[in-house]
């Protein structure tokens, strides 16, 4: 199928795409019967509880396990001296219990496996670990001596076009501001969990015997299998990863983490017994990734009519000493506006902190917060309506490459959003509206998310004489992919959705790529469409029982020579208590350009959910690292705030009808991340409009408005 064909082998027969189909597993989820990683019924389980480091950098000098060993019901105590030597620890995140080095606070330094969770936890508390602590550094600063440019020749840290410095020197209006975002944690509601079962003959590393099954809470069963097999030196065919339901991830479950390895090591040492390991909420603050803090300087040089001449975005972030992870916050600033002169830079400092990783829209979420805040400041400096300012700087082609946009439509998002929100006749003066105890304001911000397509997924379709079963090892982490892929399969086969059953979340199914980068539905959907086309090619429309076909997603599905990305516009009303500074957001409205929407019910939930996480980023989220210890002080859900029901008002997501053939065979782009991008800036801009106070450091807490 070429990229410009409409999807589906039997057009007109049944149009499953675009139906607001109910989430297929909804009944199982509302009753709680849908099994998550911890919940698969397995006989005679054991329970693992880890011991984690209490220094940020140093060496373990002694581990006393005698009290734990002596605790009745303890089956195994793992330490760095007794644990198996792993086959491949090239990725240092997975070098679990391999040495005496401690590289961050909260790292695994031992583990206890016992008959009951109570025993495992208490015995872990009885393990005494002594350290030789070394001076650590966990505080990111704009001029940190360890800053370095990440990347390489193919993907450099810095980009420059034109002569931005000259423009900054001569332009009549210059905005030069620094914005900060804090360390943040994904905190999916289901803690990261792995249940590991080693079956087969001889235990022990190197024997090569046996099979490993992981019931894992992951965004990608196949990627976890590849990682775990490599680290443990196993043939991937002998590792099975099962994850039919996943309680959220938002990126943190996008790869295996150290706990997968630790559970597998314990299972290999205790063959035949499932080892259940659910991280505690507290442990999730050091072991499964986080969003780096950012320090971002944005400079905009404009003519007095608001036309931007130069855009410079410099981003400073941290990574860990264990391995590099670069968030890339300035990257999308290169494609937002028509500035002839541009520079983006990125610097990282490797600190003694836990390993950062994906968190919903890594890079775009903090980066666009900074850029769109600066745009609001530019609008104010020029005395131009902030919607109009963005319209004036709309680029006709991708400023990075000169390529035409496939389906940008940001102008339509802004115009339709302004209309729906009631933006017209907005009084631009900040800090002048009052309703009772509330100071009231409105704000706008634009959003962008790149289009990612991952080749490599395979789908298989089997007909049993009644129903069509579609198998693909994809993940449904709450995105609705099970439902959307069923619709895509029905479309491809020209069948009503009731005739199709889709199975996912298991490496026994054909391989699929990770649910990440808003690429899932698009990438897996391409495989499902290819399999459907192959099935119809081989078996026609009247197959016999047992008919079967399998196909891979095309290597190239995205049109060349076009700039393909999603865009959006956020409109927000904010209220700030005139006495106490408490901030409330009664209204959020987003309009998005995302290509074709496969299922409007689940897509709406995704977009609204992203907006709520953006609200959370704006008002609530902040992980506080104690510089003395490197420990996240507020490492639980009582003190690491995410919004509760009472914080969330009227949140509405709309999208522009249409499809983007350049995006791939579905004509769809992802909806998982665009909702969070820009939302925090819109809130910050609305708060400024309400109060006249420009908060340039998230989260926006009430103390900024008191005193």
């Amino acid at each position: 199928m070429s990229a410009t064909d409409g999807p589906g082998a039997a057009p007109g027969a049944h149009t499953a795409l675009g139906l607001p189909l109910e989430r297929l597993e909804a009944a199982d989820k509302v009753t709680g019967r849908a099994p998550y990683a911890y919940e698969h019924p397995l006989p005679d389980p054991l329970y693992l509880h880890p011991v984690t480091s209490t220094v940020a950098r140093g060496r373990i000098t002694a581990v006393d396990t005698s009290a734990a060993d002596a605790t009745p019901g303890v089956r195994l105590v793992l330490t760095h001296t007794g644990a198996e030597r792993l086959a491949d620890t090239g990725d240092r995140e997975f070098a679990v219990l391999q040495s005496d080095r401690v590289s961050f606070y909260g790292q695994f330094v031992a583990a206890v496996v016992a008959d009951t969770p109570e025993t495992a936890r208490e015995a872990a508390a009885l393990v005494r670990v002594e350290y030789e602590a070394e001076p650590h550094d966990v505080v990111l600063t704009a001029d940190h001596p360890r800053l370095y440019p990440p990347g390489d020749e193919d993907d450099p840290a810095d980009h420059e076009q034109g002569d931005p410095d000259a423009e900054l020197a001569r332009a009549p209006v210059v905005v030069d501001r620094t914005y900060r975002t804090p360390m943040e944690h994904n905190n999916p509601m289901e803690p990261h969990t792995t249940v590991a079962l080693w079956t087969g003959d001889g235990p022990g590393p190197g024997s090569g015997d046996g099979d490993l099954t992981l019931y894992d809470s992951t965004q990608g069963a196949h990627p976890v299998r590849e990682t775990v097999a490599g680290v443990l030196g196993l043939d991937p065919a002998r590792v099975r990863v099962v994850s039919p339901h996943v309680g959220g991830g938002f990126g943190s479950k996008g790869s295996a983490h150290a706990h997968d390895i630790l559970a597998a090591m314990a299972a290999r040492a205790l063959p035949g017994r499932p080892v259940k390991f659910a991280l505690t909420r507290q442990q999730m603050f050091s072991l499964v990734g986080h969003r780096t803090p950012t320090i971002q300087r944005v400079r905009l040089a404009a003519e007095s009519d608001g036309r931007i001449r130069a855009l410079v975005h410099d981003s400073v972030e941290h990574t860990s000493t264990v391995k590099e992870f670069a968030e890339g916050s300035a990257a999308t600033s290169r494609m937002m506006y028509a500035a002839l002169h541009r520079r983006t830079t990125q610097r990282l400092a490797d600190l003694d902190v836990p390993i950062p990783f994906w968190m919903r829209a890594p890079g775009e979420a903090p980066g666009i917060y900074a850029l769109e805040s600066a745009m609001d400041e530019l609008a104010q400096a020029c005395g131009i309506d902030p919607v109009e300012l963005r319209l004036r700087n709309e680029p006709s082609v991708d400023p990075r490459t000169g390529e035409p946009w496939s389906d940008r439509r940001l102008v339509e998002c802004l115009r339709e959003g302004a209309e729906r929100f009631g933006w017209a006749d907005r009084d631009p003066a900040p800090g002048t509206r009052r309703e009772g105890r509330w100071r009231v304001g409105t704000g706008v911000a634009a959003a962008v998310y790149p289009h990612l397509y991952n080749p490599g997924s395979v789908a298989e379709i089997h007909y049993d004489g009644d129903r069509y079963t579609v198998d693909i090892g994809a993940a449904d982490i709450g995105t609705g992919s099970r439902t959307a892929l069923t619709q895509i399969a029905a479309q491809g086969l020209g069948l009503p959705v009731e005739r199709v059953r889709l199975r996912l979340g298991d490496t026994d199914l054909p391989a699929a790529t990770v649910a990440g980068g808003s690429s899932g539905t698009v990438s897996w959907g391409a495989a499902v469409l290819a399999a459907a086309a192959a099935f119809r090619d081989r078996h026609g429309t009247d197959p016999g029982p047992g008919a079967r076909a399998r196909a891979a997603a095309p290597e190239d599905a995205v049109a060349q020579g076009r700039a393909v990305a999603s865009f959006g516009a956020h409109f927000v009303e904010a209220r700030v208590d005139a006495d106490t500074g408490e901030v409330r957001v009664p209204r959020m409205l987003g309009v998005f350009s995302v290509g074709r929407v496969v299922n409007p019910r689940t897509a709406r939930s995704q977009l609204v959910g992203g907006m709520v996480m953006g609200l959370s980023m704006a008002l609530h989220e902040r992980s506080v690292l104690d510089p003395r210890t490197g420990h996240v002080v507020n490492a639980d859900l009582a003190e690491y705030h995410v919004p509760v029901h009472a914080d969330v008002g009227d949140v509405r997501a709309h999208w522009l009808e249409g499809e983007d053939p350049a995006a791939g065979p579905l004509g769809a782009r992802g909806v998982g991340e665009i909702g969070i991008v820009g939302a925090a800036a819109a809130v910050a801009n609305a708060v400024h409009h309400a109060t006249g106070v420009r908060v340039r450091e998230l989260p926006i807490t009430l103390d900024r408005f008191v005193g």
């Binding site: 509302v30 709680g32 019924p41 969770p117 109570e118 995704q606 859900l637």
Partner: protein, 182 residues
């Protein structure tokens, strides 16, 4: 130290021996294989473990099993006979008031408790108590602000809040409230 207790879960009686340290949530999940109450934080900070005990919504993670000997526990799985959906659960499905689903059984149990509490006339922080006799006990109408405040003990990281409020509002206005929990 062990103790032998009886739990009535979703209408079924279970006799089990537990460690005195075992939480009600762990007894339900690890010992009885109940998957409906979820562990999101284990410290009373997220609401995912919400169940009804004697019809009242509580957090099962902060309850000790040994102290609940004889208790009648209702989870989201037991609100309606197997194969049926409780009106609140049905409304969650109808409104797509869930995404990952992990907080959902707790949200559903909490909503059932909310409907019952409002029907009893229990106020919330946002209830207007300025009337002549705030203690008269008339049912509290559940508008969106009431639902938001009363449901605030149930976190949803997917951000399904607006749809959850839609669902609870639809059941509340249909008058299915008071009987739901009993």
């Amino acid at each position: 130290m062990d103790a032998t207790i009886t739990l009535h879960v979703d209408g079924e009686e279970h006799r089990l021996t537990v460690d005195t340290r075992t939480g009600l949530l762990d007894a339900l999940r690890d010992r009885l294989g109940e998957t409906s109450p979820k562990k999101g934080c284990d410290h009373g900070q997220c609401g995912a473990c919400t169940v009804l005990v004697e019809g009242r919504r509580i957090l099962s993670c902060l309850a000790l099993a040994v102290s609940h000997d004889g208790a009648r526990v209702t989870t989201a799985a037991g609100l309606a006979p197997r194969g049926d959906l409780h009106p609140v659960a049905r409304a969650f499905v109808d409104r797509d008031a869930l995404q990952c689903g992990y907080c959902t059984p707790g949200q559903v149990c909490s909503a059932v408790g909310v409907l019952d509490e409002a029907a009893r006339g229990w106020p919330s922080l946002v209830t207007d108590e300025s009337g002549d006799d705030p203690g008269e006990g008339a049912p509290v109408p559940l508008d969106r602000e009431e639902i938001r405040e009363r449901m605030s003990g149930n976190l949803c990281r997917c951000g399904a809040y607006t749809h959850i409020v839609d669902a609870v509002e639809s059941v509340g206005s249909a008058g299915a409230g008071g009987e739901a929990a009993r």
